[in-house]
């Protein structure tokens, strides 16, 4: 039977309507509309795609069946971080961003999309309070992009090329930043000491050709930079800019970088109310002081308050729209396009729910759990912490002294349903704890690692000195 193709997503596949519309426009068939597509560019066959699952129940069964093969972190004990973090997401966050009005909106004007403009302006404002900064952008794609742009801004503002990288940076983030800025900026690495910036070495490298000092805090291994003010003072003394890449999750407790001299603060908002989504939920923020020199170098959209024809009424609109590539194409600073607005709304709802007290408590829980996990793992014979810095949420352990490799620990503990962390070298393992990681979880990890260390020691003993083993104990 050759049924006409009528699809629920496409109302005008209904045959009679189609015929009527063709008739109205005076076309014999839809082929008429493709008259400008030359015959030799026509595909002339059906695309080679899987058989469709046109009935919703069949589609749901298929996709759910594929996803059922995933084993999420809710069914594993996960200490995975390195850019994506397992924080609790309040139910209200999901409720708000699941609303059709936000989920399916796009580029409406300030009038019919007043709610979207207000929600995003509030996101900017809530982030502004958390970061102690007056200007925050509508989210760009992610923290990688935000940091790349923050550094590019510093290059444009100073007209200089050199950037001193003061911290350990996530390899993927560094990859993105390097490729993004390489035409305009040269990155120079100054190795950290005990996890944080080597201030003296940086000062020695500074000159009036330096555009920026780039600090990541927490660093790749979760180390919190505690000498930002000294770095800011040194940068400013030579006319350079302090760019701080950060995760905002700790600033209920930690002093925000802006209060320690930072000029541009940027990073990722995944920690503020976004699920992990297999690494697929990130939004980038860029924050600056209310200085037109900086604001006019921001490529992203900025929403601002405005008056309306009705006294006392608050409207919203684009601040300095002429900055953007929408207005200026190749004269724009960088480009702006669809990025991560919905995640910004989510982060705003999250910050509103948390309030000052919630963010303070969250920061304290993260610091305490991290310190506890450091003690628990650092106390295992043969395992040591890689540095003595303050850590937030992540830290690295060196397992060489236990005769283990990082990947060996991962492989062994996965068999027990534990993701113990992310290898960052043969013997270095980066372990992440959040407020979702309980004391019992940490104790379980420590016990499992202790077991591995003991097994390794026993094996080493038997390999090194088999003859010493008493005869009667041999199998």
């Amino acid at each position: 039977m050759n049924r006409p193709f009528v699809h629920p997503y496409i109302p005008n596949t209904a045959p009679d309507v189609r015929a009527e519309m063709l008739d109205t426009v005076g076309a014999a068939s839809v082929e008429d509309f493709y008259a400008d597509v030359p015959a030799d560019l026509r595909l002339g066959r059906d695309l080679d795609l899987p058989e469709p699952l046109v009935a919703e129940q069949d589609l749901a069964r298929h996709v759910s069946g594929l996803l059922a093969r995933n084993v999420p972190t809710t069914e594993r004990l996960s200490f995975l971080g390195q850019g994506t973090y397992h924080h609790h997401v309040p139910a209200v966050v999901d409720e708000v961003i699941g609303r059709s009005e936000f989920l399916t909106a796009y580029a409406g004007e300030p009038y019919e999309d007043h709610g979207r403009f207000q929600a995003l302006w509030q996101y900017q404002s809530l982030m502004g309070e958390l970061l102690s900064m007056d200007v925050v952008n509508v989210p760009t794609y992610d923290g990688f992009q935000a940091t790349a742009t923050g550094l590019a801004m510093a290059g444009r503002i100073t007209g200089r090329r050199r950037v001193l990288v003061a911290s350990d940076v996530l390899p993927a983030k560094l990859s993105k930043v390097r490729d993004y800025v390489r035409v305009h900026l040269d990155l120079e690495f100054v190795d950290p000491v005990e996890g944080t910036a080597d201030v003296a070495a940086i000062v020695a490298r500074l000159g009036d050709d330096v555009a920026a000092i780039w600090v990541e805090t927490p660093s790749r291994t979760g180390a919190v930079e505690h000498r930002l003010q000294a770095l800011a003072d040194a940068a400013h003394a030579v006319g350079a800019i302090l760019v701080v890449g950060t995760d905002p999750v700790g600033y209920g407790v930690l002093t925000p970088p802006a209060e320690q001299g930072a000029d541009i603060v940027c990073g990722d908002i995944q920690s503020l109310g976004l699920h992990q989504w297999y690494g697929g939920a990130h939004g980038g923020f860029i924050a600056v002081h209310d200085d037109p020199r900086f604001v006019m170098e921001m490529p992203s959209r900025l929403f601002g308050l405005a008056t309306t024809d009705v006294p006392g009424e608050v409207g919203f609109g684009d601040v300095a729209y002429d900055r953007t590539s929408f207005a200026h194409r190749e004269e724009g600073k960088e480009w702006v396009g669809t990025a991560a607005a919905l995640w910004g709304i989510a982060a705003g709802v999250h910050l509103a729910l948390m309030g000052p007290q919630g963010m303070r408590e969250l920061g304290e829980v993260l610091l305490a759990r991290t310190a506890y996990a450091q003690r628990a793992l650092g106390a295992i014979p043969g395992i040591r912490l890689t540095d003595r810095a303050v850590h937030l949420r992540e830290f690295a352990i060196d397992v060489a002294g236990a005769g283990l490799t990082a990947s060996g620990i991962v492989t062994a503990l996965r068999a027990e349903g534990i993701e113990p962390g992310v290898p960052a070298g043969e013997h270095e393992l980066v372990v992440c704890v959040t407020e979702t990681t309980s004391q019992a979880d940490i104790d379980r990890l420590a016990a499992a690692v202790t077991g591995l260390v003991a097994a390794s020691a026993a094996e080493a003993a038997s390999t090194l000195d088999p003859i010493a083993e008493p005869e009667e104990h041999r199998a």
């Binding site: 699809h7 997503y9 005008n12 189609r18 509309f33 493709y34 400008d36 026509r42 595909l43 695309l47 080679d48 899987p50 749901a60 996709v63 996803l67 995933n70 084993v71 999420p72 972190t73 397992h86 309040p90 961003i97 399916t104 909106a105 409406g108 004007e109 019919e112 007043h114 302006w121 309070e129 102690s132 993927a172 490729d179 035409v183 930690l254 992990q276 297999y278 690494g279 697929g280 209310d290 959209r301 601002g304 308050l305 590539s325 194409r329 702006v336 396009g337 990025a339 991560a340 919905l342 709304i345 000052p356 007290q357 919630g358 963010m359 969250l362 829980v365 305490a368 003690r375 979702t436």
Partner: protein, 524 residues
């Protein structure tokens, strides 16, 4: 007795919700809590002591951030009220956002992705625990390879403009690998391509040459040939352009670029009308990208998260961003980017929930369905064009009498000359009827522009309703122009003064800045 069903008015009596909703900071009540945080266990506290007191000098925040303090339901209510003051695609005949392909984002997909089997996945888990996610990424890439005709696809980028960036980053890496990096310093694009093509090329360090159309609105092949040289790194073009006009000489464009050693990059933001009809590879392109959130049915999220797909020829495959998902036997593995890759373009595998939505969308349609998407989108567009051009004062510049693909850039120039009413004013008035409408990117090459893209999602009845609304506003422009000029009348807010937003002394990007700049307004 019949039920009292009154005849419906000619147009919807839409009125946006109006809650006089304060800025959230004004709702704060000290001491209220929206959510509580888990406690530090006594065992942890005993072991680590007061971690805040132990912070190094200057590292402990002195004054708490001035976030609002609100009970949970108050936060919910506030944001749901804001949601009601917002017109999503699920509510209006959203054909007015040309170049953005507003279409139905199927609800079943929202249900499918909501599972913790996706949302609670960490990207560095054992690939053995992520076989479902990896298989969907891999399968989606293969389908997009078939749709584009290209050899390899990456779904890493987080939106269309990010994908445009990836295109130019790959082109740059390709020329550098061939020793041509220093020589090829120019990128050629057209005025009717998305501004990001020009802006991304500039951000990558290129000099940008922008071509204008010929007299009929077709991209000007002679102008291209004059602009091409051994300095050209790439052409970055879209087809159909934002006018909805398909460039029949596209193969000649690509060949001319190749003849000088340049690459050809295809912005397929406007691909919706050509799915299954013609493919990037068939015209000889080296690289193209799709906007997954446009063409492949994922929701636009108030402006993201989007997803881009970069599709490339075998020659460019080594430059794709990484990591890649590979199939080995019946297993899916993650392989790090190779030595020539441009590396990470963003974290991990891109916006994975969107990839799953796009996969489900394609699986619901198949080959016949994708072709029906394209054909219906162009049918709808040409039908709507017929209806719009019947409105006195409206026109479609260029290519008069020719068909269009998926959208049209129209002009109200005649109406403007007659009434003084601008396209922007008409757009604002359209919102009073519950319709959205967008003018065009700048600069306004078409005078008093408006750009409509009906896609496949809207029924004939809805297209008629939309055209009727524009006809009504055009009538108003002649008969009661003040009604149009002073719009909006049925929105949450009234005409907004944009002067406030362009003056550094007056703009207020955050509540913090507002309090500082306008102390009297907040009672300080």
């Amino acid at each position: 007795m019949s039920l009292p069903i009154a005849p419906k008015p000619a147009h919807r009596r839409f009125h946006q919700a109006r809650w006089d909703e304060p800025v959230i900071f004004e709702l704060s009540t000290p001491g209220e809590r929206g959510v509580l945080v888990t406690s530090i266990e006594p065992g942890v506290r005993d072991a680590v002591g007061d971690v805040v007191a132990a912070l190094p000098d200057g590292l402990a925040r002195q004054a708490a951030p001035a976030l609002p303090e609100m009970g949970q339901m108050r936060v919910l209510k506030h944001y749901l009220r804001l949601s009601q003051e917002n017109l999503g695609a699920d509510f209006n005949v959203d054909v007015g956002q040309g170049t953005c392909t507003m279409k139905y984002a199927p609800k079943v997909n929202e249900r499918l992705i909501a599972t913790p089997k996706l949302s609670a996945m960490h990207p560095l888990q054992d690939p053995a625990d992520a076989q479902g996610a990896l298989e969907i990424i891999w399968r989606t890439e293969r389908m997009l390879a078939e749709i584009s005709g290209m050899d390899e696809v990456s779904l890493h980028t987080q939106g269309g403009s990010a994908a445009i960036w990836a295109n130019i980053a790959m082109i740059r890496a390709y020329h550098e690998a061939n020793g041509d990096g220093e020589q090829r310093r120019e990128v050629i694009t057209t005025i009717f391509s998305h501004p990001s093509n020009a802006a991304a090329a500039k951000a990558a360090g290129y000099d940008v040459i922008t071509l204008h159309p010929d007299a009929d609105g077709y991209p000007d092949l002679a102008a291209l040939k004059r602009a091409l040289s051994p300095r050209t790194a790439a052409i970055m073009v879209t087809n159909p352009e934002d006018t909805g006009i398909y460039n029949p000489a596209i193969r000649e464009w690509v060949d001319a670029a190749h003849a000088v050693g340049a690459l050809a990059s295809y912005d397929q933001a406007n691909a919706n009308g050509i799915l299954g009809i013609t493919r990037a590879r068939d015209a000889g392109f080296d690289v193209c990208h799709f906007n997954v959130h446009k063409t492949f049915g994922t929701p636009h999220g108030s402006g993201g998260p989007g997803t881009g797909a970069n599709a490339v020829s075998a020659a460019l495959a080594p430059f794709l961003p990484g990591p890649r998902v590979v199939r080995e036997g019946d297993r899916y593995e993650v392989r790090e980017a190779g030595p020539q890759s441009i590396g990470a373009i963003g974290p991990f595998h891109g916006v994975v929930p969107n990839i799953v939505r796009a996969y489900a969308w394609m699986m619901a349609l198949g080959a016949e369905g994708l072709r029906a998407v394209a054909e219906t989108a162009v049918l709808n567009n040409n039908y709507l064009m017929k209806r719009i051009l019947e409105i006195p004062g409206a026109s479609a510049p260029y290519a008069t009498g020719r068909r269009r693909i998926e959208q049209v850039r129209y002009s109200w120039q005649e109406l403007f000359e007659e009434t003084g009413i601008t396209s922007e004013e008409i757009g604002i008035r359209a919102s009073d009827f519950g319709m959205h409408y967008w003018t065009s990117h700048h600069p306004y090459v078409v005078p008093q522009p408006f750009t409509l893209e009906p896609t496949e999602s809207y029924s004939k009845a809805e297209l008629d309703e939309y055209a009727d609304v524009l006809a009504e506003i055009a009538r108003e422009a002649r008969e009661t122009p003040e009604v149009v000029r002073t719009a909006p009348h049925h929105q949450t807010v009234h005409h907004t003064h944009h002067d406030d937003l362009d003056d550094p002394e007056r703009w207020a990007v955050t509540w913090r800045a507002y309090r500082r700049k306008y102390p009297q307004a907040v009672g300080a």
